[in-house]
Symmetry: C2
Subunit: 172 residues, 2 copies
Amino acid sequence: MKPIQAIVVTAIAAISLGGAMLSLAAEDSYDSTSVFGGNLPPGYRDWKLISVAHEEGKLNDIRAILGNDIAVKAYREGKLPFPDGAIIARIAWSYVPSEENNRVFGRAQSFVAGAPTNVQFMVKNSSEYASTGGWGYTQFSGGKSTHVDVQACYSCHVPVKDRDFLFTRYSP
Amino acid sequence: MKPIQAIVVTAIAAISLGGAMLSLAAEDSYDSTSVFGGNLPPGYRDWKLISVAHEEGKLNDIRAILGNDIAVKAYREGKLPFPDGAIIARIAWSYVPSEENNRVFGRAQSFVAGAPTNVQFMVKNSSEYASTGGWGYTQFSGGKSTHVDVQACYSCHVPVKDRDFLFTRYSP
């Protein structure tokens, strides 16, 4: 086939597929509980630390963001977009004052991690999760996969599209 | 030497050394900058996460507590006292609101890690750091070892002597 013919055929295919592709992207294109086959990725609790944060409001948690080796390497090298295989884990615990620490400091100033709340993951697979920016989103509570609206996850992350949809910055 | 003689000699030695030992224990018995030979322990930033915390007041930081393999194993197994060789790193960053995150949440609720403040370590060596409960204390700022009053560190940790002087609990 000559190049010009190939282009025409490709264009026709794209037009005919256009409707289906758009509708796929607009809906919940995969179930969050299907990510990792519904299982926690082995060893995630041993991954390296990316950063930490505290969320007030309804969440009221304190959290750590860990990454597998691919993710941490990309963060440290400032590599964008992140390569396929990168996984980021956000572990959260309830945000509780520490009376024990406060007694030592002599004032109420210390907040620590209480009971675990949930663990969320972003996993990069440009083709499998194309409908949500190349990242798959999933959540676990008590070790069990729980349904989340992946399109809602994606929408929230769009404002940081320039950083490959990652809010968290690496903390040295 | 017969056993009874050995005991007498040991007792006399202990009595004669008693004064010196007490004065050693009461003062800054080692310089914090001598711990690890004044260098950051290699690879500490890759260590596993123990927990996270936030300190208000003058500190106003958000922090992660990491441990080397010996320390994390002891934490996970609930092993007390911690074995020699255990090292715990407390990394702190300034506590800053995230305008970027707040825009997405639609309210001021998100606090993240800003610039690094300092890194503190506890290293277990029952004999070398006997004067401070078997733990050596040290601190680094900008990668450089900085002097801290190790007896003051120790005094603050005495209230949690039953947990081998460790405030931080492991967060699953």
